[in-house]
Amino acid sequence: MFATAVAFWSVSIQSAPRSSHSMYANPRCSVALLLPLGIVSVVLIAGPACADEWGSVKGRFTYAGDAPSASELKADKDIEVCGKHKLVSEELAVGADRGVANIVVFVRDKGVKVHPDLAATKNEKVILDNKGCRFEPHVSFVQTGQTLVIKNSDTVGHNSNVATIKNPPSNSLIPTGGETSLTFASDEALPAQVTCNIHPWMKAWLVVRPNPYAAISKPDGTFEIKNVPAGEIELQIWHEKAGYISEVTVGGKPEKIAKGRKKIKVISGDTDLGEMAIDANLFKK
């Protein structure tokens, strides 16, 4: 806790005069030069100065209001397969403790530095499965250039209609046991819808970003973006039903977020945005 506070302090101090010291490649170093007192504490806690510093952005979204129960979806096609599963609408999933799942949080800045550990993630394949007549997972995240494999584990045919905007949309039939691979050259400003025309109740979302910094809130409402370069970044917060999350309440204080875009300062270590309660009315679009 102390470390965070100190880091906040140092960052907030250095942010004001930063523009006049642009000759320094790493603003943190300039802090070190200017504020020997500050550096001591930073060095003590955060490790060697002047090295790239990275932090995690985390937080939790909760539903302010009575948690709605997910409406059931009626499979009216391929009932022998799809009828077996209990299908529910995943548009708004509020878990126990009112955590809101599937809220997408990503770093809007495109030229952001990528942590060496994360560079390799681009080579991993992201799997989007048609399973049990629903998409698994409901929200996928893929980086530009990364391969998205859309599979079909069901015993009926599906098609995956990927409605990207900056990338050519695609709509391929995926027969039982088949798969198709997609890569995306451009990033998408907002998640793209994935649907199945054969089974109109099926829906998923696809986040396409140029870097690995995106997270999707878990059933308990928590999210974490790891190894974000320290400094000022802009987060985009979005949910399929609410659209831009334009207002949250943190610690009882309402906070407006224009277009769901929140500027934060990432510090080395954890940057915790705390518990963000979202008004139920926001989801009533």
Partner: protein, 1515 residues
């Protein structure tokens, strides 16, 4: 007689006389020369010369600007660099190797090699340059030597050949002279030897040639970069040289100036009259056709001048004022100080160039001091902002800039740096210097009307041979303009020239001379900018308001000669048949006749039935007393004969033959009194209560008689109405209707089942089509008759039952299953809803239907007497009125027969009936409506075919100008006491809402004048008032359309009531009136020589014919016939990169290299041009165009920061930045500024689809929250773009006449229109012609069964395996209905029946569609089933993707015969007795056997097995 010194006259006197006459002669000669020197056209020619010189100089300046120098230097540098660069020694050595192949050059090659080595070793740049030059010189010498050798060889070859010729000739001579065989043999030997020499020489030459060419090619390769650099430098300089040459040619020089001097210029000076001689386009000069001479371009010299390289863009536009936002450089500080600080140097012009990128010209064009833009540096700030050379800066940041220095100072000092500077420029040149607008259409050499062929006056009229402003008969467009012309040019209206120029407002009129079809003047793919919008609007108004019902416009002088547009009513066959239906004698003629009557009734254009009916009627008439039919029916027989050139247009009003089944007395009374009372938007004109012009006795008569006329008409209409069979509602028992009619459901039916494509309703304000009547108060109308609701239900279910020729289609409202399990009757729902739509309107002030007051009875008697007096002498008339016709007078024919029973008890009704029929005849109601008893009525009004040339002396202006003056003066507050008209209650004074924007044009007149003048009111009214006062046609027509009855002003005293003018008042507004006038004034019946009459190509003709049908039936109300077209101008790369999509090669877009190059061209504003055809994306909630940010994310309300983009769905492959953007790949994100800088041609049609788009999405969201907006397009009327290449003509024809369900997911079905067969054919041909498809027949080998044999040979079980794919659980049957199999689930996810594809679609379309559906229908949800790189499972079909594609196409195109193959007659035959001659089908069975009876046992998953193959495979 000796000679004397004496003269006959006094010499002194003679000297004086002589000197005086000599001086006079001299003076008059000088005066003559002076007048000649100052002829007005010379002034304009000099002006034009100055203009041309100025613009040439500006172009030279622009080229010669600093940027030109910079480019020159750059190119120079790159040339120098190319020269300094190392030569590719590899190529050089290859050259030498080639050289060595000729031994003679070996030495030269060695020396060359030495040079190369030296060059390689040399390091000093200067030395290297010299060595390099030497080397290249040496190499080129070698090449020259090779050329020299080649020439030698060629010379030698020539010599040999000559020798051979000579030797052959010697031999021939020898033969001819009978030389000895020996001698002949030797001659032959010599010739042979020479032939060998020739052969050798030929080979040598060829070798030398090859050698030389290869040397040159290598040398060229060696110097390629250098040559290219040298060429671009030369090109760059050449441009300037060319411009300079143009300037030199144009600029005045000493020689020219001398020739233009007074006196000298009278003798072949450079200024001359230009003249177009048009011998074919004759001019009627008092009964004699003479050749036309147009000298207009003597003054209008810039008419055909276009910009270099753009033949359709005028070089000199007409003067207009344009505001421009000029971005300024960002900076702190301001003004010149800032300039100095930032290094902006030089004089004002230099600073302007550095800051904005333009310079002011040292002298203005028409005013020397005017701040005129000279040079605009291409792609500079100024160029991007749209500033052009020649613009005169009028205003900078709100301050006027009349002189150059002020402008310069303001431009340098006024701006807030960093913010755009608002400036106003005047662009273009005044008349007569400007170029003709629309050079793509007119005057331009590539246009359809080149100046040399058409001249000017054939369109504009006026006196072409005149060379002065006055005598060329210019016509002012407004009184103000006339006044200005008078002041500037001494202009006055020349009444003596009968073809004065058309004023600008009517200039489109002339198009009708040659464009008789009129629809060819609508926007077309070739000319998307409307060629004649006003005229076309006039045409449509005349069609919609049915003017031709009374005023025939006959386009034929005789059956061989077309003279203009043809707008006449179609023959009344249909009405005759309707009348026969009402003849009680008809059943006695038998069933066959009844059938013919029915056939003529519903399809009057068919010849066969009509001819037979005509014969029958004539035979019956000849039977005398035995005749079965009434005399009236016999009279109508002649109407069934076909005229030589029958009219084609329908009556515009609804049929009134069964009107009693529909509406009652009260509503009819209110309606006839003033149709706008009930329906403000009606097209029905107003006949009654038009009293503004009346006073005294005339007014009193109108007030007394009109109510009786209205009542009598109603009496006749209701009394003569024929009985009508209502449609029976669906039955609860029989049809299983379980839901009671519901207003809310009915509202939805009206909203989504297509009504709004033609009708308006107050509940749906966004529906604006005026094709059908407004339904907001329809309930009030239907409530007026007891059976009104039943009628409305019948009408909704089967409109053709009421009127077989109605334009209202049958929208096929069949019982619907509701989500709650009940079944509803949508027609009953809609009826319930519409009956409730009244807007609380009720007929008011309606007299009692069944009784007359004594005063009314008197008026009725008076009216009847008036009509009787037209038939009988006065005394007799009075007697008939009193006693009626007696039985012995029953031989009397005509309407008076109606008075036979007058003496009876029902005197009032009989008399009203008689007066009613007479009134209907008088007012010509039958011009628009089908009314019993009026089948043989002729057009009542003046024919209009040549009205545009009607002599004004033959037009009765009566006292109308006084009336109009009074009216206008009252309106504009001129105090004239004479405003004593009183208006009583019968007709609320409802002046149509016209002439609203009356802004007095007081520039030339003041209110102080006692009288109103044309110049003291707004220029439009003023124009017409002036024309009216001058007794011109335009004035007459204007007032005739405004207030037709006003021509009775002060005339009623002198006329009987029935002699008054009868034309009703149409609810036109001022623009509509002018459009109608434009059309009528163009009807001149003066077709030019046949070669000038517009004759479309057969394809174009098919398009136009189809267009007429499509417009009549409002096809475009639902369907897009043409997509939106955006001609955008975008900043390079601003539409994002093209992303490659791998697909079947046959689907890739094809553009030529030339097209790609063209799309890379950057204009002066730094933008590229592209044409996008498709659909702008709509907001799924509002249905308005979607706006998005640069990432494609929709912009939310109130977001002002986002950079606006418009997502656009392509329907035609486009080229952006030189790269193809294929249909179906990705929506383009078009920056809003690119859209705004370009041109937008809106889609033709599809309004209903766009209107319903958000509605059906919202509806579907209730069921499926996941609904994707794009899918909604699939439930709405589809765009018909590409239809010609998509469907088979035969199928489409059948479908149009009897539409079937195609897409189960659609929310509304294609309705059944009452098309005649030929109308449907016109539509089919339309689609084929616009898409460039074959029609009416097209052969496709894939449809031919013989093509299957080869496929089967290559791939056994070709179709069976394909069926495996179709029926596999992963593919087609997931969504498509196949045969009797329908996939379960939401109908919105169902796809069309595959069984019928073979008759509906074209094979190529099916093939491409399966390959990638989005390439054909970008919004489709159908996935790619067979990816081009990944065939479907080989278990189903062994083969590549393409083979599988072919197999499915083959299967679908032969589905029918494939299914039939499995059909067995065995079971069927078993039932038959063993009689050998018994045919297979028994009378109980239709000729096509019932499939269920003959197919194998049904498969478990299907109920029926029309397609047995499918059934077996579906398991």
């Amino acid at each position: 007689m000796p000679a004397t010194e004496q003269t006959w006259r006094d010499l002194k006197v003679l000297h004086v006389v002589f000197s005086v006459t000599a001086i006079l002669l001299l003076l008059s000669t000088i005066a003559m020369l002076a007048v000649d020197h100052n002829r007005p056209w010379k002034k304009y020619q000099r002006g034009f010369q100055a203009l041309e010189t100025w613009s040439a100089a500006a172009k030279v300046d622009e080229q010669d600007s600093s940027s030109f120098e910079a480019t020159s230097k750059e190119l120079d540098a790159s040339l120098a660099k190319a020269r300094r660069a190392d030569l590719d020694s590899g190529i050089a050595e290859a050259f030498l190797t080639q050289v060595r192949m000729v031994p003679a050059d070996a030495e030269a090659a060695d020396r060359g090699q030495l040079d190369i080595d030296m060059l390689r070793q040399q390091s000093d740049p200067a030395e290297r340059l010299v060595l390099r030059g030497d080397l290249l010189q040496r190499l080129s010498d070698i090449a020259s030597r090779a050329k020299f050798r080649e020439d030698l060889c060629a010379g030698h070859l020539k010599l040999c050949k000559a020798k051979l010729d000579k030797n052959r000739a010697d031999y021939e001579l020898g033969v001819a002279e009978n030389a000895t065989p020996k001698a002949l043999a030797s001659l032959l030997a010599v010739a042979d030897a020479t032939r060998v020499q020739v052969l050798a020489a030929t080979l040598d030459t060829q070798a030398a040639n090859t050698h030389r060419k290869s040397l040159e090619a290598t040398l060229k390769k060696l110097t390629a970069t250098e040559d290219a650099a040298a060429k671009s430098l030369a090109d760059h300089r050449q441009k300037l040289l060319l411009l300079a040459k143009t300037l030199k040619d144009r600029a005045p020089n000493f020689g020219k100036s001398v020739l233009e001097l007074p006196v000298l210029d009278a003798f072949n000076g450079p200024l001359r009259i230009d003249q177009l001689w048009l011998p074919q386009l004759t001019l009627n000069n008092n009964f004699r056709d003479v050749a036309r001479f147009d000298r207009c371009n003597t003054c209008h010299k810039g008419m055909d001048k276009s910009l270099p390289g753009a033949p359709t863009e005028g070089a000199y536009s007409q003067t207009e004022t344009i505001p421009i936002q000029l971005p300024t450089a960002p900076a702190a500080g301001g003004g010149v100080e800032r300039g100095a600080e930032e290094g902006v140097k030089g004089d004002g012009n230099d600073q302007l160039e550095q800051l904005y990128g333009f310079r002011l010209s040292p002298h203005g064009l028409f005013r020397s001091e005017a701040p005129t833009v000279g040079v605009v540096v291409p792609e500079s700030t100024a160029a991007r902002a749209g500033l052009m050379s020649g613009d005169v800066i009028m205003d900078v940041g709100g301050a006027k800039t009349l002189i150059r220095t002020v402008a310069t100072t303001l431009l340098l000092e006024a701006p807030q740096w960093g913010k755009p500077l608002e400036i106003v420029v005047q662009r273009g040149v005044p008349q007569p210097y400007s170029s003709h607008p629309r050079l793509d259409l007119f005057v331009g050499s590539t246009s359809p009307h080149p100046m040399q062929t058409f001249g000017c006056t054939i369109c504009h009229q006026g006196q072409g041979s005149a060379t002065s402003f006055m005598w060329s008969s210019h016509s002012a467009n407004t009184p103000k303009q006339g006044h200005q012309w008078h002041d500037e040019h001494g202009w006055a209206n020349n009444h003596h020239w009968i073809y004065p120029m058309l004023p600008q407002r009517f200039e489109e009129s002339s198009c009708l001379k040659c464009h008789h079809q009129v629809v060819d003047l609508e926007p077309s793919p070739q000319f998307p900018e409307p060629p004649a919008p006003k005229l076309v609007e006039g045409y449509h108004l005349i069609r919609q308001y049915g003017c031709y019902g009374c005023h025939e416009i006959n386009g034929w002088a005789n059956p061989e000669k077309r003279i203009g547009p043809d707008m006449r009513l179609a023959p009344n066959y249909h009405e005759v048949a309707e009348s026969l239906v009402g003849d009680p004698g008809l059943p006695a003629l038998g069933n066959a006749v009844a059938r013919w009557v029915e056939e003529v009734r519903s399809s009057p254009d068919g010849k066969e039935a009509r001819q037979r009916l005509l014969d029958t009627l004539e035979r019956d008439a000849a039977a005398g007393p035995e005749a079965k039919l009434s005399r009236r029916s016999h009279q109508l027989a002649t109407l069934l004969k076909e005229p030589e050139t029958p009219g084609t247009l329908p009556k515009v009003g609804p049929s009134l033959r069964y009107v009693a089944s529909k509406v009652g007395f009260d509503w009819l009374y209110a309606w006839l009194r003033n149709p706008q009372e009930f329906r403000p938007s009606t097209k029905m004109p107003r006949f009654f209560g038009l009293w503004d012009h009346l006073s005294g006795k005339g007014l009193e008569e109108s007030q007394r008689y009109e109510p009786i006329e209205i009542r009598s008409m109603i009496n006749y209409l209701l009394g003569s109405s024929q009985p009508f069979q209502y449609v029976k509602p669906y039955d609860q028992q029989r049809d299983g209707i379980t839901a009671a009619p519901d207003i809310q459901r009915g509202k939805k039916v009206v909203q989504v089942r297509g009504c709004l494509a033609c009708h308006q309703h107050a509940d749906f304000p966004e529906a604006v089509s005026t094709h059908g009547p407004n339904l907001s108060r329809i309930g009030a109308k239907m409530a007026s008759a007891p059976n009104g609701p039943a009628w409305l239900y019948s009408w909704l279910r089967e409109p053709a039952r009421y009127h077989p020729r109605t334009l209202m289609p049958n929208v096929l409202l069949e019982p619907v299953s509701l989500p709650n399990g009940k079944v509803s009757d949508p027609a009953a729902d809609a009826t319930a809803y519409l009956l409730g739509s009244t807007e609380s309107w009720k007929p008011s002030d309606i007299p009692a239907a069944n009784s007359l007051t004594p005063a009314e009875r008197d008026a009725t008697n008076e009216l009847a007497l008036m009509y009787l007096k037209e038939r009988f002498p006065a005394v007799r008339a009075a007697e008939v009125l009193k006693n009626g016709l007696t039985a012995d007078q029953s031989a009397i024919q005509g309407d008076e027969r109606m008075l036979l029973g007058l003496a009876g008890s029902n005197r009032d009704a009989t008399l009203l009936n008689y007066v009613g029929k007479k009134t209907i005849a008088k007012l010509a109601c039958a011009g628009c409506h089908d009314i019993p008893g009026f089948e043989d009525t002729k057009a009542a009004g003046a024919a209009l075919a040549d009205w545009g040339r009607k002599e004004s002396s033959k037009i009765a202006f009566e006292q109308v100008s006084h009336f109009v003056m009074h009216q206008l003066e009252e309106k504009h507050g001129y105090s004239h006491a004479e405003s004593g008209h009183s208006h009583t209650a019968l007709a609320p004074r409802a002046e149509p809402a016209v002439d609203a924007p009356l802004a007095p044009d007081l520039a030339y007149a003041s209110k102080a004048e006692a009288h109103l003048t044309p110049e003291s009111i707004d220029s439009d009214t003023g124009f017409f008032l002036e024309k009216l006062l001058a007794h011109d046609r335009e004035g007459f027509l204007w007032q005739k359309l405004r207030a037709p009855r006003s021509y009775d002003y002060k005339k009623t005293e002198n006329k009987t009531y029935n002699e008054r003018y009868r034309m009703p008042q149409f609810p036109f507004n001022a623009e509509q009136r002018e459009a109608v006038m434009t059309f009528v004034l163009g009807l001149v019946a003066e077709p030019p020589a046949p070669q000038f009459i517009h004759k479309p190509t057969p394809r174009e003709e098919a398009r136009l014919k189809g267009l007429v049908v499509a417009e009549q039936y409002n096809c475009s109300g639902c369907h897009s016939l043409e997509m939106d077209r955006w001609d955008i101008r975008y900043k390079p790369e601003s539409l994002g990169p093209a992303q490659a999509v791998a697909d079947y090669p046959f689907l890739s877009p094809h553009f030529t290299a030339h097209d790609s190059q063209k799309s890379l061209v950057i204009d002066r504003q730094g933008r590229r041009h592209a044409t996008l055809i498709g659909m702008p994306q709509l907001n799924p909630e509002t249905g308005k165009p979607q706006l998005a940010d640069e990432d494609g994310v929709p912009i939310e309300d109130g977001d002002t920061e986002a950079v606006v983009h418009r997502p656009f769905m392509l329907w035609q492959d486009a080229l952006i930045d030189g790269e193809a953007r294929p249909v179906g790949a990705q929506n383009l994100l078009v920056p809003d500024d690119a859209f705004r800088a370009g041109v937008h041609y809106p889609a033709r049609g599809g309004d209903l689809a766009r209107l319903l788009f958000p509605v059906v999405i919202a509806d579907e969201k209730q069921i499926n929250p996941n609904v994707k907006p794009d899918d909604a397009w699939g439930w709405l009327p589809p765009p018909l773009v590409g239809e010609g290449k998509k469907v088979q003509s035969g199928w489409l024809h059948k479908f149009l006449l009897n539409p079937q369900t195609i897409r189960p997911s659609a929310v509304l079905r294609m309705p059944k229109f009452n098309f005649q067969s030929h109308e449907a054919a016109s539509l089919v041909n339309y689609f084929a012609s616009v898409d460039g498809a074959e029609y009416p027949y097209a052969y496709d080998a894939r449809l031919d069964e013989s093509s299957l044999a080869e496929a089967e040979r290559l791939h056994p079980n070709h179709l069976e395996s394909a069926l495996k794919i179709v029926t596999n659980n992963n593919y087609c049957v997931k969504c498509h209905v196949v045969g009797s199999y329908a996939p379960p689930g939401n109908p919105k996810a169902l796809a069309p029946q595959l069984e019928r594809v073979h008759e509906r679609l074209q094979p190529d379309y099916v093939h491409g569609w399966i390959a990638n559906p989005k390439r054909f229908l970008p919004y489709t949800g159908m996935p790619v089933n067979i990816p081009f790189d990944k065939p479907v499972s080989q278990d189903l079909y062994v083969g590549s993707s393409e083979q599988q594609l072919d197999a499915i196409t083959d299967l679908l195109m032969h589905f029918d015969s494939f299914a039939k193959k499995n059909l067995s007659l065995e079971a069927y035959l078993k039932q038959q007795p063993s009689a050998p001659n018994q045919p297979a089908a028994t009378p109980q069975n239709p000729s096509v056997p019932d499939a269920a009876a003959v197919s194998p046992p049904p498969a478990p998953s299907t109920k029926d097995s029309r397609s047995p193959g499918v059934a077996t495979n579906l398991k």
